[in-house]
Symmetry: none
Subunit: 412 residues, 2 copies
């Protein structure tokens, strides 16, 4: 069973010169692989018309699908439409709808559309417009040679939104795909090697391929199986793997049904109880609030990066036992903030500790709940970004474990 051949094409001097790493290509590579394409090549070319024209022509003779990102902006170095026009002899035409959309974007911002943005409404003749509801640059798609070309903006947020909303469903209709089945086990608080060791005990059927995707505190375990692999047997394998890993698994998803992230898992529990959460962040420095912002159950957070501020906030003497002091105040916070649950990160940490990539910080995660106070203490290391996101994830994990009938938590 031959899989259609796909390529990924990125445009931009900032990518070829290494100013930015091409995360779009990796993301699209995963999406296409999961869909069932054989991803044969990534190509990145700078903002050079001749090179773009040549590259598009090569791809047209080589692949069944080419997903392209970048070069759709309003500025002089955005050459994609022009290059496509030249490569395939399709003169650019003004797309009235595209123009209207670009204008509407600026109207929403209460500004007049700058003249230069008109350029973004010029599309190669005969191409299909892809509406951009997330920015100014409309995308477009066309057939050239054996290859279906899809052009999307380079801004990751706009590209991903456009791919998921318009492109992915269209690819499913357009190509005969036999995607390998991908099952993803989301875990939190367990390192990649710890997961690997656990799973070494699991005997997998030959057809099932085991993979890992490390994403800091949240690591994914991937089980890849052929489309025709028996449903029931796969179900067994997944259950066995999940049981072996244990309660570090917080959600399970598949190619078609994405697994919930940690905040939504916790959010469901809070919503089911019509309960609210307030947080006091120290180590995570705003990342916890940012993961919850916009959720109806999230009341807000106090972000207090340094210990001095923490003491002031809780009216503790810096000399005191920090955690003890905090634990005495936490219940009061539940009333003051009218919150059902209050989460506090208790950590003695200054700027140097935060920036010391070799060192670790001890964090006591304290949860004030209607039925008392619960806690969990963890050592957190890595660079500042890693420390912050780990602290944010483990805060949510404390709540999750609380709702999971509290495995691993100590009451007070």
């Amino acid at each position: 069973m031959q899989r259609p051949v796909a390529e990924i094409f990125s445009q931009g001097d900032e990518v070829v010169t290494g100013e930015i790493a091409d995360t779009n290509a990796a993301w699209l590579g995963r999406e296409l692989t999961d869909l069932g394409f054989d991803v044969a090549r990534h190509t990145t070319v700078g903002d050079c018309l001749e090179a773009l024209v040549a590259a598009f022509r090569e791809v047209a003779g080589r692949a069944d699908l080419c997903l392209c990102t970048g070069g759709l902006g309003p500025t002089c170095d955005d050459l994609t439409a022009e290059a496509v026009g030249r490569a395939f002899g399709l003169p650019l035409e003004l797309d009235e709808n595209a123009l209207a959309q670009v204008e509407a974007y600026f109207t929403r911002l209460g500004r007049a559309m700058p003249e230069v943005n008109k350029k973004q409404a010029l599309l190669p003749g005969g191409s299909e417009r892809l509406d951009n509801l997330w920015g100014t640059a409309p995308g477009f798609a066309l057939q050239a040679g054996r290859c279906r070309f899809v052009f999307m903006p380079g801004v990751p947020g706009e590209m991903k939104a456009m791919f998921l909303r318009w492109v992915k469903p269209d690819l499913r209709r357009r190509f005969r795909l036999f995607p390998a089945r991908l099952v993803i086990l989301n875990t939190v608080g367990m390192g990649e090697s710890a997961l690997q060791e656990r799973l070494d005990r699991v005997v997998l059927p030959l057809e099932v391929k085991l993979g890992f995707r490390a994403e800091g505190p949240e690591n994914r375990v991937k089980l890849l199986s052929p489309a025709n692999f028996p449903e029931a047997e796969l179900h067994e394998v997944v259950k066995h793997a999940a049981d072996t890993i244990g309660d570090a698994v917080f959600s399970i998803g598949s190619s078609d049904k994405p697994a919930s992230d940690l905040a939504s898992v916790v959010g469901r529990e809070l919503a089911a109880r019509r309960s609210t959460l307030y947080a006091v962040e120290t180590l995570s420095g705003g990342k916890l609030a940012n993961r919850c912002a916009g959720e109806p159950w999230f009341l807000g957070a106090a972000v207090i990066p340094d210990s001095a501020g923490f003491c002031r906030y809780f009216g503790i003497q810096p000399s005191d036992d920090f955690a003890q002091g905090a634990i005495e105040i936490v219940p009061r916070l539940r009333e003051e903030e009218c919150a059902d649950y209050v989460l506090v990160q208790v950590a003695r940490c200054d700027r140097d500790m935060l920036l010391d990539e070799a060192g670790t910080v001890e964090v006591r995660f304290v949860l004030a709940a209607p039925d008392g106070i619960w806690q969990q203490t963890r050592l957190i290391g890595g660079d500042i970004e890693r420390k912050q996101s780990t602290a944010a994830a483990l805060s949510l994990d404390l709540l999750r474990r609380y709702f999971l009938k509290k495995p691993g938590l100590q009451p007070l």
Copy 2:
């Protein structure tokens, strides 16, 4: 003055399928650009012999230099040497020195060399060996067509060490290089197209290339000039460009001296005054605190995503004029939080508005300073991530403008 054309080539299924992002390519892209090469292309091909052979032949006719990573390992999917041999008719030969090195590596580990590793000592006939002092896989280099090929391991640590120790000095000897000068103007609060329009008025010398890089609220303007471009004239060009853009420019950097980010620009001003900052975040949902966390001048923030919470925090009736209510309280916050400066995002925003990618939110940025209250009102659109990071950046920008003798701010 023509710069030599370079390409970067990566091999590996894990890269094309997006298992891992190709950080090697970005790193090498920066190194080559700084050396003075014109990096024209990145190509990534999976572990497929025919595809590799074809790709190497293409490059040989197109570039003066190609740096390749990956595919030098001992396993069956490591095909680089074989592919190079086929592409350029160079049968593989056992390199005794290479073999000795691989064996020595295992001896150091106190292990016997596995039979499979012998493969790593097979190099295309006539190629120059590059000793790997950091792992098992020796690299190699050869000339094919107009192109100098250099093959290095895919393990980032080994690749970087090998490049810096053997390859970089050799490239300096081998090519006549005139590194280009890159000047970057960091701007905030101005769209890419607005910048383009301003700069259209600037007449640039032919040798100076203008580029843009959109990063949401912070957009970069890039001026690329040849090494031999007169210093004084470049200085004039940069000054002219910066003056034309106006006070949206918050820092200027170059290839050798990176430009400061917005938080450090503001931080310098605060540090110089031995002053501290406290923030009340609504729309940015924790992103502002996260940009300041760990800075000595940052006391902390209250993150209050929704309007109801905002009213509770400020003791305002939801019916009241929001901004007015807040503005009356802000000065008091300076005392309560013992902060010299208090920054508040006043916005009437609920979850639906936050998630509505088509809609915009009006935010009044209010700064309580020792010399009174200053403010600036902006409309913010985009998806939730975009809204949040824009609100965070514009908050810092309000402080920056305040320290810049307040262009564009209204006092109260």
